[in-house]
């Protein structure tokens, strides 16, 4: 019953440290869990980096159920933790009700905008990162057809898709992008079987690079792509290692940097919306030993050029969520 031990441990830590109201930062992981190889683990890495650099300590709590959210937030706030960072849009509503009760505590929420005077909302420019991987996909594709597999059909995922298509078209204006969404319910985030079938359908339509922005479903997409002998692109964390030599790259969302920055600012955290863009290394592409052989010098040069152009404002990547439409298909 490791889960119960962890929970008791966390509760005990809370109780012990409640007296010594030092302004320690705190981090709350969402239901995916601390070691999810993706989103939450990135947050943990950011906190770890901060702790190693400053020698400070921080509190952390792993959500085990939906019902714990409010209780966890209040407990941490009452224990004097400051700032309190939480990962995931699911905290939005809870934070909106809890934040006004603790005006002296600073909160930071990742992937969601909460409009309260003591909350920093961290959002990422996923369209820019997706543009870069789209550029690479367009250059790596030999058939001129690439694929995109989204998870649940929500505006955030369409934002990924739109940025990706723009990148592909920038590399090869004649390229065709086959787009699929896995579903319209949260089950679409955890359906690797369907993800694999969609990937196979895209392969049969000629796609030879497939970008998966679909959570657990993406694992099935990457697997089917590796089985089918084509390239795939991972998302959020570096997923290149899942199938070395067969994952072209991964679109990185630097949640670790967001957590690190928030911890570093401490109680002086600036409320408002913080956009983590390409310029702030908020998003990017993953390059490591696993995909070294796949990335040509031309690709690297094109990515660096596009990155510089986007930062300088010479190239603008359209954000789907700004007007709920995408100029390219």
């Amino acid at each position: 019953m490791t889960f119960f031990k962890q929970f008791l441990g966390a509760a005990a830590t809370l109780a012990l440290t409640a007296g010594a109201a030092m302004a320690e930062p705190a981090l709350i992981y969402d239901l995916g869990g601390k070691f999810d190889k993706s989103f939450n683990e990135a947050a943990y890495n950011g906190a770890k980096k901060w702790a190693e650099e400053t020698g400070g300590s921080y509190k952390e709590l792993e959500m085990q159920s939906e019902a714990q959210r409010e209780q966890a937030l209040r407990k941490l706030a009452e224990s004097g933790a400051n700032p309190i960072v939480m990962t995931g849009f699911a905290f939005g509503d809870t934070l909106n009700t809890v934040a006004p009760d603790y005006p002296d505590t600073k909160f930071a929420i990742i992937d969601m905008v909460v409009d309260q005077p003591n909350v920093e909302s961290v959002v990422f420019t996923e369209e820019q990162g997706s543009y870069l991987v789209g550029l690479m996909a367009g250059m790596a594709s030999k058939t001129g057809t690439v694929g995109f597999v989204g998870g649940m059909d929500i505006p955030l995922i369409r934002k990924f898709a739109c940025g990706y298509v723009q990148g592909v078209k920038a590399a090869n204006p004649d390229a065709k992008v086959v787009q699929n969404m896995t579903g319209t319910t949260p089950a679409a985030w955890n359906d690797p079987v369907k993800g694999g079938e969609i990937a196979k359908a895209q392969i049969s339509q000629g796609a030879d690079v497939i970008y998966a922005a679909a959570g657990g479903t993406g694992i099935g997409v990457l697997q089917a792509a590796a089985d089918g002998g084509i390239l795939s692109i991972g998302v959020d964390s570096n997923q290149n290692y899942l199938h070395p030599g067969q994952v072209l790259t991964s679109m990185l969302k630097r949640v670790d940097n967001a957590v690190y920055d928030a911890f570093k600012e401490g109680a002086d955290l600036k409320p408002g919306i913080k956009v983590m863009s390409l310029a702030d290394d908020g998003v990017g592409v993953a390059l490591d030993d696993n995909n070294k052989s796949l990335v040509t010098p031309e690709m690297l040069a094109a990515v660096d050029q596009a990155k510089a152009d986007i930062i300088a404002g010479k190239v603008t990547v359209h954000d789907y969520m700004s007007d709920d439409s995408c100029p390219v298909q």
Partner: protein
């Protein structure tokens, strides 16, 4: 749309329809014996987890299969105990099985592998590899028959062929053996079976156990045949679609094959063509995803024939004194 595309869609339909078929036959045995089973989803999930976990640890898909069937069987026995021995409400027991599997799998996966509630990726012998049937590459270039044989019929994992073989076997067991006659009788009129001196309890437990095995095969196919490992909630409602197929097939094995393959085909088409343009109207993907349920409701409402469930279904048997 050329012939090659049609073969590919049919091929995908077979892969997507197979877990439904196994789960549907699983439900058929249970419901024919008078035990409603909405816990198919949970049993499949449990089997997916145990097969994925054991295959990852041992590196053998066959040991994974054993563990998957074992996991599914344990839940089947829980359901049997609740609804046969303790005469509880079968629907509530089924719901409990689903919830239990949903929570239990992620919890154990997390404490076992620390990967956020999934099992490690499977590779090599830890997965069921596609089997190339004899002569598949030889006839590949023969028009029409070639692609049909080498793409559609050959190249699936062993579990697919097992699933298809289960259809005539189920028919034979149910309609041509003494056991099958008794099994059907126990779902229609358990008193008569009891009067004939046959144990209702034992027959029903046997039926529930067969359900456990078949649902275990379905879950194992998901985790070690189609995907490469377990991911939380990876059954994604397939147990419920299998139930819908069971009603659609009116609790008969051969129509069950047709119903599940039809549902698989609908999913394969919607994967390939998210929005279908019919000239006048465009069918959105949501419509395609809803079609299995719409068809089931139409059947239940009695528009096309009549779906009559086994008469003693849902009622615990109390021996008269």
């Amino acid at each position: 749309m050329d012939f090659g595309t049609i073969v590919e869609i049919l091929d995908s339909a077979v892969r997507l329809g197979t877990p439904l078929l196994l789960a549907c036959l699983a439900g058929l045995f249970s419901e024919r014996a008078g035990i409603f089973d909405i816990g198919l989803e949970g049993k499949m999930l449990m089997a997916a987890f145990f097969s994925g976990a054991v295959a990852a640890v041992t590196g053998s898909a066959w040991l994974g299969l054993l563990a998957g069937v074992g996991g599914s069987m344990s839940l089947a026995m829980v359901h049997g105990l609740a609804s046969i021995t303790f005469r509880g409400n079968q629907l509530i027991s089924g719901v409990a099985v689903n919830f239990l599997a949903s929570g239990f799998t992620v919890l154990i996966a997390q404490s076992w592998f620390q990967q956020g509630g999934r099992t490690p990726q499977l590779s090599g012998h830890a997965r069921f590899e596609p089997i190339t049937l004899p002569g598949a590459s030889a006839v590949k270039d023969v028009p029409v028959i070639g692609p049909l044989y080498s793409n559609l019929i050959s190249g699936h994992t062993i579990l697919v062929y097992v699933a298809f073989a289960m259809v005539p076997l189920t028919w034979w067991v149910l309609f041509r053996t003494r056991f099958g006659l008794r099994l059907r009788a126990v779902g229609e009129n358990p008193e008569s079976v009891d009067t004939a001196g046959v144990s209702v309890i034992r027959l029903r437990y046997t039926a529930v156990a067969i359900t456990g095995v078949l649902a275990g095969l379905a879950g194992t196919y998901l985790a070690t045949g189609l995907a490469a490992g377990f991911v939380k909630e990876m059954t994604a409602g397939r147990g419920y679609i299998a139930l819908a197929a069971l009603i659609f097939a009116k609790w008969r094995p051969v129509p069950a094959l047709g119903a599940t393959m039809l549902f698989g085909l609908l999913e394969a088409i919607s994967n390939r063509y998210p929005n279908i343009d019919l000239g006048v109207v465009t069918l959105p993907i949501q419509f395609m995803q809803a079609v299995p349920y719409i068809l089931t409701v139409v059947i239940l409402a009695g528009f096309i024939g009549k779906a009559i469930p086994p008469r003693a279904g849902g009622q615990p048997y109390v021996k008269e004194r």
